[in-house]
Symmetry: C2
């Protein structure tokens, strides 16, 4: 479903908190906070992920100079069963809360939903948030951490990180101006260690539908950035779009930016925290600084569960897209 | 967060499919379809829940006389980890899809989100959907089905059922006119067999905030109906609201309507399919027939997971509310 917002929905503040491995990567200095202890001082990985979210929200409120009572709504989620990381964090902040789950596309889903609530006239501001934690995700979706299983070349490393953005009706500069809500695609992939073969077609479909609906071309954008397709998925995405006569010369992937090649992450990074942190820490600040002016952010989600994987099911995927414009573009609107 | 829709968002069609035990209860004749086989012809409970959803959507499309390409958006979810029942159903229909998770409050969350997408001008129509299945939920949240554990007096029976509604910009008659997006409440309850002690305070908070924001009183409504508080939770909700000088004389609970007392369901029914089916099969048709004119539907969700329960965590809860008006009320607007 194509959305053209009536007015720009401004992204006024961003915040991010990331884990130890992320603090050793190329974006180390961009996060608001990193940790040397992936437990974040807690006694379970699940509580650690909530604590990471809590710190991220506090950075956002602090940077914005507001209190928790000033927030109209939070739209967000995470990868844990029943999105408990987010639900438990919400105890502390008591924001009106719409819990979302579309796997690693949750950050884009949150941005779209929050922007609709604002542009529709229901809220003056809303936070979009997503997180993932290597230790909650890997043991839940794949194998026990202590098992030390060999990782396949197509495997991706789940980011330990939380990113959130404050969307507002009033503002100037960077803003969400359009979006495409994705549809589920399932081409029959069954390998939970190769989710990008399943996710790339969803990204291709959403990009293609968005370009058609908006009457724009791939080359109109400074950057087309996907959430976590990694090396393998990026290659496939480009091939799929070439067949539709769409050339991605200006593509990047959050899953290829957060770690360096020598960090042993195989095909790249993944997790809803991947797109969320890279957008909050790197891309959106670049837009605020005028270094990027018109981008598409496409986050892809693989919607299987450990139960469906064990039952031999295929992996349905979805991709949501937001068009974000910088100040040179939004002041024309 | 209080929402007053600019125009009524019409509920033009409803559909419901329910399981065997539900087909032996007082609402047996109200569902569009019931089954004698809770597997719905599938080989796993998870596939059964997706099949039940699929049939429910087909009833909706058939009653409405439209094809799957005519649907702008689906907002919905279920209780399975990673809301897989809904994600897998979406493969068949290819609707633009926003996956939601707020446990048993998901039907109200879906109705609110879908209504915002329509009233905000982003969609002409949208389906809100939620389901639960006794066999996917009980084994996931509590004990293996074959274990045959003794049920406590506070236990509730998870409904096997799916309900969905078509919301539209154009229409007449029954419509959503206002809503309250809930905030997480956690009073420290830890017993997964007594979730209503956790959920009732969330319902009380949302009802109290809604009445204050809307400037209305409990007695202004023909019916105030909760999703699945059951007998124990209903008693607690009334006590909590009495302390706030709010008397619920016109209250009912979907969890007390779908089964009869002799069906051995202890405190009543639960699950997001409970509120969804009772609304779709019983309450909304009564509104369409002019038997009810102004109601509040409050669905409550217990946001724990099996992992957090095992980790000794408390149960955070949330309640979302929609105000639904009948034709006598909406034609005045």
């Amino acid at each position: 479903m194509y959305i053209e917002y009536k007015k720009p929905v401004f992204i006024t503040t961003t915040a991010s908190v990331a884990g130890k491995k992320e603090s050793e990567g190329p974006l180390a200095d961009s996060f608001d906070e990193t940790t040397v202890d992936d437990y974040f001082g807690m006694d379970t990985w699940e509580k650690a992920e909530s604590e990471m979210q809590s710190r991220c929200i506090k950075h956002l409120l602090h940077k914005k100079g507001i209190g928790k009572g000033d927030v109209n709504l939070l739209c967000g989620g995470d990868l844990c069963n029943q999105i408990t990381s987010t639900a438990y964090t919400m105890r502390e902040f008591e924001f009106p809360f719409l819990g979302l789950y579309n796997a690693c596309s949750t950050m884009a889903e949150g941005m779209i939903t929050a922007a609709c609530m604002i542009d529709g006239g229901f809220a003056d501001n809303a936070i979009a948030l997503a997180s993932s934690h290597f230790c909650t995700a890997e043991r839940q979706f794949r194998t026990p951490l202590d098992y030390g299983g060999k990782r396949t070349p197509t495997a991706q490393w789940t980011v330990t990180g939380c990113g959130c953005v404050m969307l507002e009706k009033a503002g100037k500069g960077t803003a969400i101006t359009a979006a495409q809500i994705g549809r589920v695609v399932d081409l029959g992939v069954k390998d939970a260690n190769n989710m990008v073969d399943a996710m790339a077609p969803a990204a291709a479909q959403t990009i293609k539908e968005y370009l058609k609906n908006s009457g724009t071309k791939a080359e109109d954008y400074d950057m087309i950035i996907t959430g976590d397709l990694g090396r393998v998925g990026t290659k496939l995405l480009k091939e799929l779009l070439e067949k539709e006569k769409i050339t991605l010369n200006n593509h990047n992937d959050c899953g290829l930016m957060i770690f360096s090649q020598n960090q042993n992450v195989q095909s790249g990074a993944s997790g809803c925290g991947c797109g969320a942190t890279v957008m909050a820490a790197e891309i959106l600040p670049k837009m605020a600084n005028g270094k990027l002016d018109n981008i598409l952010f496409i986050a892809t989600g693989a919607l299987m569960s450990p139960a469906t994987t064990m039952q031999g099911e295929t992996i349905p995927c979805i991709a949501h897209l937001v068009n974000i414009k910088g100040q040179r573009e939004t002041k024309k609107l």
